[in-house]
């Protein structure tokens, strides 16, 4: 109760100057910045639909890391029975575009998009849902969450999953307990899903840095946001599938024609 009162009293409407990057600011119930100033840093994933093969390695790596890490356990109900269900932060879905026989199978990994204007955050009644100012990651404070599920309603992407065993909302943390861990070798300071991907379909980095790998990929390969109509400004972007024509045969195309064939 006291902490709640402190939070309430200590949180005047904050002036959002560029110098606010305090390292420990994430856990506090800050008032939500509805003006959404530009973050200096926004960590995000870029998903390459052109090379995702739908192997679900990112799903299992995510589940393994997060069920045994600070976000876990991610409970499973009836895991070996007829109606298994459980909490996951990441799913790989499969879509089919076109009409037979000219169809294209697209594997589509889906997790929290860490929106720059996350609609799930201001609706949270307790302040458990927040967007970290230092790196733009949207997180849930499991000790403050009352499990009302309102944030899940407020997410058009269905990115949040309620964990029945712990009674709180869970979501992708971008492996926040991993990417900043100085004890890990630098190459391992990436989300588990990125490390697990065998085709390099998942890129990770700062989309606010114009020269980062992710920014270059978005720029060069037409990276796009999901459901742009709701103006949530997702940080995660998707790289479109491009048709790769057969290199031999009567309908072989010249390389110049390839890039225009976005599915």
């Amino acid at each position: 109760m006291i902490q709640w009162l402190k939070d309430l009293l200590q949180s005047p409407p904050q002036s959002l100057s560029p110098g606010w990057a305090q390292a420990d600011g994430g856990g506090r119930a800050d008032p939500i910045d509805t003006e959404t100033p530009t973050l200096a840093r926004q960590l995000a994933l870029v998903i390459d639909l052109n090379v995702c093969v739908g192997c679900h390695a990112c799903v299992t790596a995510c589940k393994q890391w997060n069920t045994s890490g600070m976000a876990g356990p991610l409970s499973d109900v009836n895991p070996y029975a007829s109606e298994p269900t459980g909490t996951f932060f990441n799913r790989v879905q499969t879509y089919e575009a076109g009409t037979f026989p000219n169809t294209d199978t697209v594997h589509f990994p889906k997790s929290c998009l860490h929106c720059e204007d996350p609609p799930c955050v201001p609706v949270c009644p307790t302040g458990a849902s927040y967007k970290r100012k230092e790196d733009g990651i949207v997180l849930v404070d499991a000790d403050k969450c009352i499990g009302c599920k309102y944030c899940a309603w407020a997410c058009p992407y269905g990115a949040r999953e309620f964990d029945d065993a712990s009674g709180v909302m869970t979501k992708c943390t971008l492996c926040v307990d991993r990417i900043h861990d100085k004890l890990l070798p630098e190459a391992d300071r990436k989300p588990a899903c990125v490390k697990a991907c065998p085709t390099n379909a998942r890129l990770f980095g700062d989309v606010k840095d114009p020269n980062s790998e992710v920014s270059l990929a978005i720029r060069d390969r037409g990276g796009y946001a999901l459901m742009p109509e709701w103006e949530t400004k997702p940080a995660n972007m998707y790289l479109p599938r491009r048709i790769t024509p057969a290199a031999v045969g009567p309908e072989a195309q010249t390389p110049g024609e390839i890039s225009s064939n976005r599915v």
Binding site: V106, I146, C148, A152, W153, G158
Partner: protein, 308 residues
Amino acid sequence: MHPAWSLLLFTTLAGTAQGLLLALAVASWLLPLPTGFLLGAIALAEVLLTAGLLASFFHLGQKGRAWRAAAMWRTSWMSREVIILPLLMAWVALWWLAIAMDVSPTVLRVLSALVVVGTFALWYCTAMIYACLRFLQEWAHPLTVVNFTLLGMSSGSVLLCALSSLAGQNDLLQSLQFWALGSTLLAWFMRRQALRRNARLSPTSTLQSATGIQNPNLVQKSMGMSAGSFNTREFFHGATAQTVRRMPYVFQILLFALPLLLVAALGAHSAMAWILAVLLQFAGLLAERWVFFAQARHPQNLFYQTVS
């Protein structure tokens, strides 16, 4: 959306209590009401509010932390509701006490005015929880606020009619019946507007905008799991298309048509008519709230169409 019992009960019980309090407060300004009757009716409203509050707790995964929900009143309509509800309950308790202790009429007027403000504030906050979610197009409209308010006014005043006919309060019943019948008719008209609006809505999000795959022939082949998840339970009503089509008729008959017919047929002085109307209306209210949830199509459902 999945209609959760906890939310159906909370919004209907609290809404009826608010309508009862509003009718009582206004009646207390215009008519001399016997103290015993007034105290009983206010106590019933408080019991209904408490029952609603209890029901709402069953929606929470961590009930013991419910007090935290008052923290984010600057941004969250749910937080505002969580503040207003106990405040209204406190004002109702004070009003009851003030009547029981026979304090001056000025104090009574102030307290009853506060209760009136509280009822409207609570309707507004409760409805805005739903109406503020812009991509839930069935909810994101002023009609949501109008209907939460009117349905509460209707059910609360019909309940007060039943109480006054039982207690032989004929003067009160004489004036109140017009309020009850009028608000019921108006609620019916406005709820029909919402039903008509929902029928005409076309979803802004499509599978193409959701995935960014711009082929007009696009189908999901797998949602990425072999069984259900939170996403398939929370955002789907789980009923057949036929049920969803029929339920609007069911609630309109129970909530509006039958109560109005009963009172017209048996006469506004028949206690039996009003008591039956209350029972029918409550069943109708639950059905109405079910439809309110079931008709809301969440855009995340686009991602959860096919199990394989």
